[in-house]
Each structure stands twice: as C-alpha cells, then as structure tokens.
C-alpha cells in the first residue's frame, strides 16, 4: 500500500448523511466516534490522512482526531485523481459505523470504523512547499511564509487551543469580579498618517491613560484583553502586535490587585499543568537584586548570590580587600552545585577566558574537600572554611567569586547564574524543572532611576503615573532618588509576565513628578492632569503579557508558537509580505512621501529584503 505519513495532514473529504443536527455538514467529528455510535448513520468531514492502495479504506482526519473509513468497492469508486501523495481531495460519503478489532497502535482512532455509502470530493491539494513531517527542519522563514501549513502541526494547534481556553477562563473570572470591559505617551509607538496634513494617529502601546480616565469617569472596574502595538523591530522575539490582559480598579491598593491576579491565574490555570499554590511568594526589588542579581529572578533553582564581604575583610588578598573596603563594593559568590561535577571541566575550560575577562575567580571543591583554584594559596584555613560555610559549598561544587561595585557585580553574577544553568542543562543535567511554574511578585522598586546618558537626571523606572510608596511621599519633594514606587511585577520562571502599579491620583503630585522631577513638558499630558483635578478616585491596575504567559505555560521556545499569525524576528509578515511598498497615490492622500536613505537610493523592491523568500 502507498502510505502517506501521519503528519501529512492534507486533503479534505466530506462524508455526508441525512442527519444534520449540527450547524456544519458533519454530524460528528472524527475524534468523537465511540462504540455507542455503532449502527448510527453519521456524516464526517476531514482531510485524507492515508489512502490504501486499492482504495479499500481511508483514514480521515479533522481537528479532533482520526477515523478509519471502509470504502465498499462495488458502490463507490474514489475518483482516480484523489490518489497520490499530495493529489488528495474532499469526498462525501454517507456511511455507517461498524465495530472493528482495535489494533493497539490505533488507539487514538477509537474502536469503531465507518462504512462509506457516498463520497464527495470538495477540493484537491497541489504539491506542498514542504513535507509536513519534516517540518521541524524547515527554515523559520518557510514556516512563516506558509503559516497555514505550519498551523496544521498538532503542537501549534494544541498551543492555540490552550491559549483560547485560558483566555475564556480569564474572561469568565474577570467578568464575575470586574464589570466593565471596553477600548499615548512616549516613544516606540507606531504612527499612522491621517488625511489631515502633518497629523498622525498613534497605535496604543497600552491603554494606560484611557483606563485611568475610565476610573476618573466613575466606571469603577475595567478589564480588557487588549491588542497592543509596540515598535521594537530590532529586539528579538518581540512582536510588533501583542496581547495583554489589562485591568484597572478604583478604591483598591497594591494588595488588592495582587490578590485579584492570583485568583485570576488560579482560576484560569489549565488543570493538566497542576495546581498553583497561593499566595505567590513576594520579594522586594532589593532582595531580588541581592539574592539573584536581577529584578526577575528564576526561582526554580538556587545558586543564589552570597556576600563574602566579611570573609575578605580579614584576608590579605589585595584585590578583594580593597574592594570590600570601599563603600558600595563587595565580594560576591555563586555556588554551582554538586550536579555540576560533570560540567566542571567544561566550565573551567572553555569558559575560563570569558570569566577571566569578567574578573571572576573559580574555586572547585574537590571530592576530598580541598580546593582547586588560583585563589587556594592566598586563602588561609579559617578563610577557606568561612567561604565554604557561607556558600554552603559541598564537594564537587564550583564557586564563582568576583569583587567590585555591587551595582556592577550583582547583574554580572545574576547573568552568570543563568548561563551556568543553561550550560549544565546543555550537558544533560537538570537544573530547572521544565514542568515547574514558579510565580513571584517583585515589589518596592525605586520610583526613579538615573538616566544612563545623563546620570544627574532622573527618569521613571516604569512610567510617570506610578504613585510613590505612602511612607516615601515626603521624599518626593526632597530626595526623589530614594522614593520607592507602588509598582509590582509578576515574574514566572525568570520572565516578567506582568507589571502594574498604584497610580498617582492627585493632579498636584502628578504635575510635580512630570515638571520638577522628570523635567518634562506637562502640557503634553494636560488632559490627564485636568482629569485628575476633577475628583479622580484612588486607583491601581496591572497588565499581564498574554503571549509570554501562554508560551511559558506550553513550554514553547518562542512566543511565535502561541500566536496564530505572528510577525518574523524582523517584524515582517512573510506570508502576506507586510510591511510592503505603498503607491505614491496612496501616500499622497496622507500628505507624506518616502525619504529614501542614501545607500538604497530609491524604491528598489529588493533592498532590505534579508528575510524574504
């Protein structure tokens, strides 16, 4: 027999009977048939998964599963051109379910088969650009260009259905608690030319201001599964169009929003992913930086940063001693645990050069408890004991130790900690449980940070609408750099999947932040300031990144695997070829013209097409 591979999910047959209780031509789905249907007349629709050599039977597939259909040779002849690996068809055949022996390999097809009475071919299938069975080896750009074939893979179908179910559950939960779902600031927003000369709309990066204005309008509570747009073409795995669960409430504080989100995730979490223990753990920004060197720690594994300041204060190792004697500097270590043994040599070998550049010292704890390290000779017995005790290092563990200003050290060791985990996993060790979901709240962020290029000037750590912590409000007028904000991030397995804040609801405070601290022109936000001055209630909100949440939930390596029609890495739609050139005629109606960069010189339709077919 000529066997089409199981993943060759191609043509479409319709099996039609008299009964049509459902909206569709079909009376049942392929995956639905069970022994209780024996004797019934049913109609199936689907694609030919496999057609036997003498047209004896066909395996029909739809989104729900497979069914074997016997073709009575005297009554029906399958049209000749429905044969062949890709020349396949829709057929229609009324038929009866018949019991058949169940081969163990065919469990998913149920314990019934169907006897066809009639077949209708709905469509034919031309040669496909790639074999779907080999699909994982296809280039990303081919997958994107033929996304409708890519989407036939069972894993993508599963991802999207899970996403759909999750969103439904979220809506269910939110619509019980909150009552009102509905409908610019800063860079990174797409602009949309209007027919008014020189005037542009912008696409919402988030409904931030509008949801605050809804609170001022007395709407009380709002949620929306909002489509948002962000122009970040250059960053990898960011989508110009993304989806967030957007929430805002009046008369609520940080604890209220946090417990709403916990309840929401508990309610909508897929049962097969196991229960979520509530409440989620909560750390401050300072604790996260101290222990993990990052504000979105992956708490599925240890290797926390350990401060060895006290130990090296009493040693004579010049570099370390001078570091710990400076204010704001210290010596920090991470301990790569026992499991690392097999990877040690690799770490000590190939990574050596890299670590040397970062000025990281390596200390291997041998199985007999002695150290192997350039530092060994410099460390006294008591100092060695203290290092091992503080870092809880065991035989077989590896210590990475570095000295310097903590605002440099922490992020560096935080990043090394993640690289070590990846390295160990690439050598087959399990560091992070891929089926574990570690949610974590991070709170007490600084409200302002020094600007990178102008450190004497402050900028908002998140956005200028975040309210200061109540106990820090007075500092806003004296030492704004010390103010903590009422901002909260939700982290899952080391990824930020949500963030929100209590908002400033007093016009005078908002004006002070914009004008005196951020040195921004408050007239740009005059409508918000006016709104706050018309009796704005205290309010707070949050936005959860739905694409990222779902991708972690299903273990997808990219958010593109949980979006039906994503853009490519470079923000292109390779299937419909967006962004594309636009006629001068059309640009004229928007009063704009293209300014071709010198190196391209003009509308050469091939330039810049790195990703194209």
């Amino acid at each position: 027999t000529h066997i089409m591979h199981l993943s060759n999910f191609l043509p479409c047959y319709l099996f039609r009977s008299g009964s049509s209780s459902s909206l569709s031509f079909r009376s049942h789905t392929c995956g639905q048939l069970r022994s209780e249907h024996i004797g019934e007349k049913v109609t199936l629709c689907g694609w030919v998964q496999y057609l036997s050599r003498q047209d004896l039977f066909v395996i029909l597939r739809d989104f729900s599963g497979l069914t074997q259909v016997l073709i009575p040779q005297q009554e029906v002849s399958v049209p000749h051109d429905s044969r062949g690996s890709h020349q396949t068809h829709f057929i229609q055949l009324p038929w009866r379910v018949k019991r058949r022996p169940l081969p163990s390999s065919m469990k998913s097809r149920g314990d019934v088969e169907v006897l066809a009475e009639d077949v209708e071919v709905f469509n034919v299938c031309q040669k496909l650009p790639f074999e779907i069975k080999d699909f994982v080896k296809k280039s990303e750009s081919l997958r994107m260009q033929f996304r409708y074939l890519d989407l036939r893979s069972s894993s993508l179908q599963k991802n999207l259905r899970l996403r759909s179910q999750l969103v439904m559950r979220m809506r269910e939960y939110l619509s019980r608690l909150l009552i009102f779902p509905t409908p610019r600031l800063g860079a990174k927003e797409f602009v949309v030319p209007s027919r008014d000369p020189g005037r542009f709309y912008s696409l919402p990066q988030s409904p931030q201001q509008f949801k605050q204005l809804l609170m001022v309008a007395g709407i009380d509570r709002y949620f929306q599964i909002a489509r948002c747009y962000r122009d970040e073409g250059s960053k990898p795995d960011r989508q110009p169009e993304f989806t967030q669960v957007d929430i805002e409430m009046s008369f609520v504080d940080q604890a209220g929003i946090m417990s709403l989100v916990e309840g929401l995730l508990e309610y909508s979490w897929p049962a097969e992913k196991g229960p979520l223990p509530l409440p989620f753990p909560c750390v401050t920004y300072e604790e996260a930086m101290r222990d993990y060197g990052v504000d979105k720690p992956d708490t599925r594994f240890g290797m926390k940063l350990t401060d060895l300041r006290d130990v090296f204060l009493s040693t004579d190792i010049g570099f370390f001693k001078s570091a710990v004697s400076k204010a704001g500097s210290s010596v920090l270590a991470i301990c790569v645990p026992r499991g690392a043994v097999r990877a040690n040599f690799f770490l000590l070998g190939e990574q050596d050069h890299f670590l040397f550049l970062l000025e990281v010292s390596l200390v291997l704890v041998r199985e007999d408890g002695t150290l192997k390290s350039p530092l060994k000779k410099l460390l006294s017995g008591p100092a060695t004991d203290a290092v091992l005790r503080k870092t809880a290092a065991e035989p077989g563990d590896l210590l990475l130790i570095a000295a310097g200003p903590i605002e440099v050290l922490r992020p560096m060791l935080g990043s090394l900690r993640l690289q070590c985990a990846e390295l160990l996993e690439s050598h087959g060790l399990t560091v992070r449980d891929s089926s574990a979901f570690h949610f974590l709240w991070v709170v007490d962020f600084p409200l302002f940070l020094p600007k990178k290029d102008e450190p004497e000037q402050l900028e908002s750590a998140h956005h200028p609408f975040t309210a200061p912590a109540p106990e820090d409000t007075a500092l806003l007028y004296t030492q704004p750099e010390k103010v903590r904000g009422q901002h909260y991030d939700l982290v899952l397995n080391g990824c930020e999947i949500g963030g929100g804040s209590v908002r400033i609801h007093k016009a005078s405070e908002q004006l002070h932040v914009l004008k005196n601290i951020l040195k921004e022109d408050p007239t740009v936000l005059s409508h918000l300031l006016e709104a706050l001055d018309s009796g704005a209630p205290p309010h707070a909100g949050i936005a959860l990144g739905l694409d990222r949440l779902v991708s972690i939930m299903v273990g997808a390596s990219s958010i593109r695997d949980v979006i039906a029609f994503p853009k490519s890495f470079r923000g292109h739609d390779l299937m419909s070829r967006a962004p594309d050139f636009v006629s001068d005629e059309e640009l004229k109606s928007y009063h704009i013209s293209v300014k071709w960069p010198a190196e391209t010189g003009g509308p050469d339709r091939k330039c810049g097409d790195l990703e194209q077919r």
Copy 2:
C-alpha cells in the same frame, strides 16, 4: 441648605471600616445596602453627590447608586474646603447602617442610612468645564474633549455596561459552539510606516484573509471580538476604529452560519429588551429592492413600493404610458397611511418643490374617497379604483407616484419612504416602534455589479472571496453579471449590522474571479491562492458590527454613545488631541516626510483645526 444637583457627580469619599473582604477598600457599594445590613459595620467609597449646609449628612454616590450618610457632629468635622459646589473631596468614615424613614422621592437610595465614624478625603475637585446637569446642551466637541466627565452620565454608563454584558454573553455562546478565538486588501486601510525604508504595514480592515487561512490550517472554527480599522474620515458617524464579532467555520453552508447567528443573538439579547422570535425573516435582494427600494429595509413599518404598471398601461397619461411601455421601466407608488393626515398639508406644501424635482406625483385621498391631485382629471374612474385597490389606499392616505427606469425609481422611492417616516415622526406620529427590533436576512445578492465609472467592467458587490450560488456556478464562465453570490446581510431596523458569505475554496475558481472577471493582478493575492491549493475545506463566515448593534439596542443616536473613547465626526480624539503632529526626528526613523499642501504651506499648528477647542 446648599443643594448640589443630582447629576453633579463629582467628588470622592471613602468610608472605611475594619472589614475588607472585597479586593477594594469598600466593603459594600452604595447601591447594595438594604435593611438586612442594619447593625453591620461597612465601608463605602464614592463621590459626594450632595453635602447638607451644616455638614449634617452627605449623599454619597458610586457607580451602583446612592446612600445617605449621617455625620455625627461631635466626632467628625468635614474638612472646611470640602464645601462648595465643586470643592469636594474623598472622605473616609467607618460607620453603621441605621434604619431611616423612606421618603417616597428617595426610593433609589434604599431604606437605610449610614452613621459615619470616620471620613477620609482622597482627592479634591477643581471647577469643571461644564455643569454635568446641563450636559446635554454642551457642544459635541466639549463632550469629546472631556470624555471622562461625559462618561459620568448615567445613560453613557448604562450603554457601556449593557455593551459589556452583551459581549460577555456572546463570548459565552460562541465559546460553547466554536472553539478557537485568535487574530489586506483594497483601499481604506490605514498604513503604518515601518523602519524599513518605503515599507508600510496596514491596519486590518477586517481579519478576512487571516480567518480564511485559519480554515485552510484546519482550525475548523474561529471567532474573535476583533478591533478593526477603516480610514473613512469623511463619512459621518463612522469610527476609524471599530469592533466586530468575527466568525468563520469549515464545512458549513449559508444556512449553518445564519442559524448560528440567530442562536447567538437569541442567547446574548438582553432580557429587558424582550424576546427575539426565531428564525429571522429572510428576503432576497430582488424582493428587498422591489418592496422597499433598498437592500437593508426597515420592516418596522409598511409603505411598501407598489407596481402600477398594469394600471397605467391602459391609461392615456402620456408620461406614465411611455414609461411602462419601455423595458426595465415602470410606474411605482408608495402609500403614506391614514396617520399622515395631519402632516399632509406639510407634505403637499414644503415638500412639493422637492418632489417636483424628483418628478413624483402626489395623490391625496380625501375623507370622502375622492382624490386631490393634478392627476385627478387624467385618471378614469376604473383607473382610479385600480390605483386605490392596488395601493390599498384609505381615506386620509397620501400616494406618491413616479415613473421611470426601475433601477432609478426603486432607490428614489425607497429613500422617500424613509423620509416620509421621519417627517411624520417629526410631527408627533408614531410610524416606527422605537422599542421594536426587526431583524431581517437579505440573501441572493448579485455577485458582481457594473463599476459606476466604467459600466462595462464588473466589480465585486461585496468582496472577491464570495462564492457563487451553486446553481449559478456555470454562469461564472459565461454571464458573470447574472451570477448570484452566497452572501447574506443581517439587517436590524433598516441598518446593516452584519454581513458574510460562503467563501470560494477552490484556487481555480478564485483565480478566474480575480483575473478574468475583476481584471485584477492575482499576484497580490498569491498567498491566498496557494493556500486554497493546499486542500482548503469549504468554509463560510460572517462579521457583525458590534458598535452599531449596541447603539440600536440602547436607542443611541450615534455609535459614539456606545464607545468609551470614540473619535469625533472628523476622526479626531479631542481629548488627547489625536491625530497630532509628530517630530521630524520621529518621521526620519520611518523614512518619511510630510508634503504640505500648497494652501497650508507648512506645519502651521492651527490649520485644519475646525473641531478643536
């Protein structure tokens, strides 16, 4: 006492108690308190609706209703600046519910009042740009500029809450039936410049092609409450951003989609609007044009078009006789019924000139059955009887009669029919029941229509993806102008609120339509043609205009009254001033520049600002 008007919905008080079972500061809403709460400690949050002269009591308002709060004079003093018509505040006061006599005028406030223990003022309110009680007289642009105050009106709040509930019910219904919710062609799409020189994204006018591709991908069924964009700045009461309920299914026909939509609307229809009788009536395009002169008839009232061809064939009235003797021409009439009596003179008077221009003859049936009309002398007794019999005209009715080619006559009389209804209603007569909801399906549209400026060339009546009626498929290759499409429109009270079609699922047929009939370049749609050629199932779908549906449901005069943050008539956001000017810096990163029209000459920030403050 100084009384603030009930609609002066301004400041915000918080009444806090120990209990905080809810997520918010409040333990109950103002509208929630009943006699069973007497004796409980509760916390309320809201705005001051009314503050009595000696601070004896305050009427507190939130989104749910009103509650009267007594202020014990010895214990709490309301801050002095909380007085005054607009100088109002948030206050916090723990308190007890106390029974009070219920004045008949205060039913909505329940039969309890609250004794305050403590008050916290959360915010103050500056003088508002308009008194909310006078709000209906404010200009549209002021309402739009201060939308957050406009939204405090109870009617807008009611509209938006009803919209929210409707959408929830729709999702509920669709998610039981359909499983999968997710995510360019032609003009009227907004373009979005990208960072690739000369390349533009476009904003979806609808997810038409993507939902078809989902069907090709084997997703089977899809729905989405989709935000869509259409650049129609010049058309009144169209929003550049709008919302549609978007549905697509595989293996389904026209009847399947129609019964899905009927079930959806029955399920999600608000109970207080009365039941919807199912199935909805269905007329063909030809019947709609014949009887109502329009493809979206308002069937809440009669005044149907009557064909008087047979009557005027036998008269000697030259103009009418010559009309009826020509192919494709006729004499048509509408009968404005008895109720019109009071308006007759107006119709015969002021409208006379207008009707004369349209070459419409007027015939008034006097109370004694005789006619008053310039036609009277020309009509024989039997012809008069035939006219009255055919039009079912009664004493007091008014007939409008016109002759000419039916493709001109029908739309003209169809439009006159609606104008007559408006005219009669403006004189206080009830023609259309404003609480009635008449849904109607219109089917069997022509698939192609002659282009207005090139009548020998055909264009799609709806879009080029609509499949021909099965019995007309052969005509596609011989007489395409005679082909009916499998398109269906859903009409409510004379407005098109939805439209959809069975789609072409065969690549060869789609190519024929694009290339041979529409004379379009098929390479623009090569990805769709390729997709159809990879085993596309038969599929069909529909999109319902949510904004329009809700606006008819709540009786709003504009869809702006059912959208939280609509754009103005001219597509402007008067509150956040979009569209706005963009810096040259920003335009440079998109490789575009503004071409100022000669009459404006440059970026004068005042030109074109007709709608501005």
